[in-house]
Structures are given as structure tokens and as C-alpha cells.
Amino acid sequence: MIIEVNNLVKRYGDLTAVDHLSLAVNDGEVFGLLGPNGSGKTTTINCILSLLEYDQGEIEIFGQPMTPESYNIKRDIGIVMQNVAVYNELTVYENIDYFCGLYIPNNKLRKKLVLEAIDFVGLDEYSKFYPKKLSGGLLRRLNIACGIAHKPKLIILDEPTVAVDPQSRNKILEGILELNRQGATIIYTSHYMEEVEHICSRIMILDKGKAIATGTNGELKAMINMGEKITVQSNYMSAEQLAKISQLPNIVSAEHNSPLLVIKSSRGTNNLETVLDFIKKERIQHSKIYSELPTLNDVFLELTGKELRD
């Protein structure tokens, strides 16, 4: 077990930012904390790192209790904060060298690691740049390089892709998977479900400081009673036909807002086939037909009654 959090409570006055939260992260996982803004992800991370005092709960990392003085634990953690934390007075290279140097005193080894990190995040051309001269995406990459250069066993990334261009975002996500392949355990927080879905092997969904569901992508989706969503592009159909569609087995609802017919099904097999058969039989004119599996947003919607997106 890499991290074990038991019954963590953190209050800010009347607000309970983390509410009796327990979680366990296994060796080699990419563990995702998914939740909307303000759901308590950062607070949870800060408690885990002993940056905040908490009201209740126990936290163990690498099997040892985590305290502000647990320097041996900290040595093996890489942290990428939600807010970029780099020195404007230092260049890209110097920043990475500084943060790496907090963990690796040996100059020769450090130099090698820093160069690797620069290469890893693709900042080779910018190593002499000062942070002020970097775009948002590049700055995030620098922030990541500063956190991972020392090759830690455990890497915690708190929303590392906020306000990042798609190109940088993909590079970051691929990089995280690569770090995981190289053996690091990852904790990744985000409010973007696509990202979490894409890279995390296990996900905890947070809302208002509470864990509302934990599991693999598939497990989470299996928790809800919703199957695929089928969309048909069709300019015309009769009200009668529409009513008939809703009566098909496993179909929960069907709505036609020309030119789109959106059909929601509950869990089951062959839902798409049933719909297709019906359309053929009724000779409903159509162009594209496509089906989407439920997303984590649907999971969130069903569990909390509200959308995950802001």
C-alpha cells in the first residue's frame, strides 16, 4: 500500500472541506481524484502531504505515518502543485535544478536528472528562458518537470492541466502514463472527466469533500443504471413513431429535436440493435447514427443529481 487515508476530516470554520474521507492507493496505480471545483481535492492532497493540519483521521504513506517532519517519506514523493510554484528569478534549467537539488545533493547525478526532465517535458529549447517568458502550457510543463526530476516513487499531480492548450495537455497526459510505466505510482486530481477516464486505473469521485464512488472506469459506470445514448440524425418522424421508440425494451427516453433524435437506454445488451431494427422497419429517414457509452459525467449526474462540468 502506497497511501492509506483513514477517515480524514478537514474543516475551515463551518465548512467541512474534507468529510470523513478514506482512500487507499496501491503500488503502481494511476489513482484519480475526480470532482468539481471546490470538492476538496486540493485540500485532501495538502492533508496527505502534511501541509495542512487536519481535524481528524490518519494518514500513512509507504506504511509509515505521515507528519510534517517525515523527511524520509518526502524524499520519495514528487509533487506538482495546482498553482505553478517556480522562481521567476531562475531560468527553466535553474528552477528544475533547484527543486531536484532539494532531493538529490550529488551534482553529477542531478545534472543528468535535470536534463532528462527537461527532455521529458519537451522544454529543451527553453532551458535558458525565465518563467515569465513561457506560455501557460509551457509553464505547466516546467512545474511538472520541477516535481518529477528526482524520479520519485510516488508522484502527486494536482490539476496539472488547468488552462493548458490541447497540445500541451496531451503531452502532459502521455508523460504521466510514461512515468507510471517507468514504475511510479501516480495520484492525479482533475475536474476533467475525460482526462481521468483516459489515464487513471482507479478513480475516486469527490463531491463536497465526500467520496461518493470509487472504482475502475468500468466499475463506476456499472454502478449506474444507464446504458448507451443513441443519437440519430433525422429530419422528420411522427409523434407516433417517437412514442413507439420510447416503448422499446430497455429504452428510458426518446426526444426529437430536429434534426437530432436522442435515445437513452438503460443497461442491457443489444440496445443499439433494437433501435436500428425499429428505424429500418419504420423506414425513418436518417443520416448518421451513433451511440455513446455513459461517461463519468453521467455517473456523477446520477449519483449527485447535478452535472460535473461547471
Binding site: 495538502n46 502531504l49 502543485m81
Partner: protein, 388 residues
């Protein structure tokens, strides 16, 4: 030493803005230096000219007679009535530039080894008076040595000793006189003005450093590392120390370079000690400001207000006498005042006995007191800031 090196790098980034203050300072110092060099050349041509003085002795003793003879070598005596108004007029119309009064009982007290003073009234800034001062110091300092070393020495034999001593030294003496005519005016001015530049540099550097150091995101990020907060703080303090000492050292070095001729004496040592004491105080002020300031843009403005204000009221730019009593009273609540005061006292030093340097050390002690107060205030502010 990651944090230490980081601090130095951050400080290095501030060099351009600090350089402005240093360059202005050095430019003024150079101009001053050439100005005083001219003054000193005139000085030499004065050596042979005797100045006019009045010696009013309320007693007649062999010691004073011997003194009169020695004094006659450097001054012409002018007879004046012992009348306050007449004396004032004589000074005013420059018929004499120096009036020396030997109070009654002087000789007796002196022979007993007591610390007694001659009363002098002078035309200010008259260079020729220096020779009279020197002559007086030399005569009585030597005499004091005899009195201290030989118990119950009679006045007559004392005068004999003095006569031969001062005569033996006569040919040498002329040289020592011109060497001794070390003009501390330049050093005095330089070191007074140093407080302004040093303070500016310290505030600029330290405030910038602390803004970075106390940035909450960066602090948090550093707290995630295996470096203990104790080690971080120690390295930070070390960096401040190195910065302070280095800044002070650079400025002091320039003074000695510009004023080398006049620098090889104890006065310079005291000037330097005083500067370092003041630097500690400046570090305290900067530390406090660093704890109060919230943005990079505010630093130069705050630095200017504080340094100009402190230095103006403490007589760095304008002699304190011109500012009036209220100003002096207010000024005595500033460390710069005590720095300037100590400098002025050092410039006057010709003897370095404990009694002579004691007032200087008390001025320095007061500066250290200020330094402690500033550091304490900074810690309080710091604590408060952390709770907010």
C-alpha cells in the same frame, strides 16, 4: 546549500537596481575625494604660517609656562583682555582664530592624574587650528604619560622632560605634523553618506529576497521537500548575513581606495567597525520592511521614502545643527542619527584611550539596540502575517 544558493541568485538579480545607488554614491564620493585633495594641498602651505591665538591663563605654573613655549612654535599670541565681549569680537573679526583658557586649578588636578580639560573657543573650520590642537594634545598627552608613569614628579622636571622630548622629535615632528594632519573630513562625510547607499541596497535586496522567500506557494512547495524548515531558515539567515557583510565591505573598500593616504590609522578602523554595526541595523530595517511589503513594485518607493527620510533627519545630507533642536530630538529615535554621531565622534578622535572611545561605543551599542528592536518587530509582523 540549495536554499543559500537560491537566495544569492535572487539577490544577484537585484544588482541592476542596487547599482544605481552604488554608482551615484561612488560618483559623489569621487568628486568629494578630489575636492578634499585640493583642500589638503592648501593645508600643507599653511604649515609654516602661524595662526593668531589668545591664551588666557587663570594660573601661573611651570607646567603652563612650558606649554606656552611649545605653543609659541605654532601660534602667535595676541594679548586680549579677559572680557567676554572683547574675546567674541576678536574671534568675529578674525584677529584671533583660537582662544584657549587654562582654568584655575588645572595644573594641580593635572598633576594628580585627573582628567581635566582646557576650554577652547574657535573660529569653526579654520584649518590652522588643527596645529594648535595637535600641539596641545601632544604636550599634554606626553605630560600625562609622565605623570602616570612617575609618581610625584615635580612640575619643573616634567617640563624639562617635555622640552627635550618635544625638541628631539622636532625635525621628525614636522613630518608627523603633516602626516598627522590627517583630514578625517572626507572619511567622515563618506561614511555618513554610506548610510544612505548601504540602507538602500540592503532594503532593495532583502525585500526582494523575502517576497520570494515568503511566497506562500513556493513555501508550500519547499515544505514538500525533505529539507527541514530549520535548515531552510539557517541557510536563509546565512544568505542575509553574507549579503549584508558583502555590501558593507564593498562600500568600505571604496572609501579606503579613494582616500588611501588618510586611511592608515585607527580612525579608519573605527569608521569601519561603525559601518558594520550600522549594516546590522540596516539588515534589521530591511528585514522589517521585507516582512511588511507585499509587492515587488512597492519596494523602490518604500526604500526611497525610508532611506531619504532617515538620512535627511539624521544629518547625513545636511548638518544636524541646521535642522534645529526639535529635529535633533526626533532624529535621536533613528539609528542613522547614532551612526552619524559616532562617525563625527570618530573623526574628532586623536587619542584612543578608553575614555576617548567610550562615547563611540555607546553610539554603536544604541545602534545594536535598534537592530534588535527591528528584528523583534519583524518577527512579530511575520507571525501576524502567517495567521492572517
Amino acid at each position: 546549500m540549495q536554499v543559500f544558493r537560491l537566495c544569492l541568485k535572487i539577490l544577484k538579480k537585484q544588482i541592476p537596481s542596487m547599482l544605481i545607488y552604488i554608482i551615484i554614491f561612488l560618483a559623489i564620493a569621487l568628486i568629494m575625494s578630489s575636492a578634499t585633495a585640493n583642500e589638503q594641498q592648501q593645508d600643507n602651505s599653511f604649515t609654516r604660517a602661524k595662526s593668531n591665538m589668545a591664551l588666557i591663563s587663570e594660573e601661573n605654573t611651570p607646567l603652563i609656562d612650558g606649554f606656552k613655549q611649545e605653543l609659541g612654535k605654532v601660534a602667535n599670541f595676541v594679548e586680549l583682555p579677559d572680557d567676554h565681549e572683547a574675546l567674541q569680537d576678536a574671534l568675529y573679526f578674525r584677529s584671533v582664530s583660537y582662544i584657549l583658557r587654562v582654568p584655575e586649578g588645572f595644573t594641580e588636578s593635572f598633576m594628580q592624574g585627573e582628567n581635566v580639560q582646557l576650554e577652547k573657543t574657535i573660529v569653526p573650520n579654520s584649518i590652522s587650528n588643527t596645529y594648535i590642537d595637535l600641539c596641545i594634545d601632544q604636550y599634554f598627552n606626553t605630560a600625562r604619560l609622565y605623570v602616570q608613569q612617575m609618581e610625584n614628579i615635580s612640575q619643573e622636571s616634567l617640563v624639562q622632560y617635555l622640552k627635550s622630548d618635544l625638541a628631539v622629535g622636532a625635525s621628525v615632528e614636522l613630518k608627523t605634523v603633516s602626516d598627522q594632519s590627517v583630514n578625517h573630513n572626507y572619511a567622515n562625510y563618506y561614511f555618513n553618506y554610506l548610510s544612505y547607499s548601504l540602507l538602500s541596497v540592503l532594503i532593495l535586496g532583502m525585500a526582494a529576497l523575502m517576497l520570494v522567500f515568503y511566497d506562500s506557494e513556493l513555501k508550500r512547495r519547499n515544505a514538500c521537500s525533505p529539507l527541514s524548515s530549520k535548515s531552510v531558515n539557517l541557510q536563509f539567515i546565512l544568505a542575509i548575513l553574507v549579503f549584508t557583510v558583502l555590501s558593507c565591505l564593498i562600500m568600505v573598500t571604496f572609501c579606503i581606495l579613494f582616500n588611501f593616504k588618510n586611511s592608515l590609522n585607527l580612525n579608519t578602523v573605527y569608521f569601519i567597525i561603525n559601518s558594520f554595526v550600522f549594516a546590522v541595523c540596516g539588515a534589521g530595517i530591511s528585514f522589517l520592511i521585507g516582512n511588511l511589503v507585499k509587492s515587488h513594485n512597492a519596494i523602490p518607493a518604500i526604500s526611497n521614502v525610508v532611506t531619504l527620510g532617515l538620512c535627511f533627519i539624521s544629518g547625513v545630507f545636511v548638518p544636524l545643527e541646521l535642522l534645529g533642536n526639535t529635529a535633533i530630538k526626533i532624529a535621536s529615535f533613528t539609528p542613522t542619527y547614532w551612526f552619524v554621531k559616532a562617525n563625527n565622534q570618530i573623526a574628532e578622535l586623536t587619542q584612543f584611550g578608553f575614555a576617548d572611545v567610550e562615547p563611540i561605543f555607546s553610539s554603536m551599542l544604541i545602534q545594536i539596540g535598534f537592530a534588535l528592536a527591528f528584528f523583534a518587530a519583524a518577527l512579530v509582523v511575520n507571525k501576524k502575517r502567517r495567521f492572517d
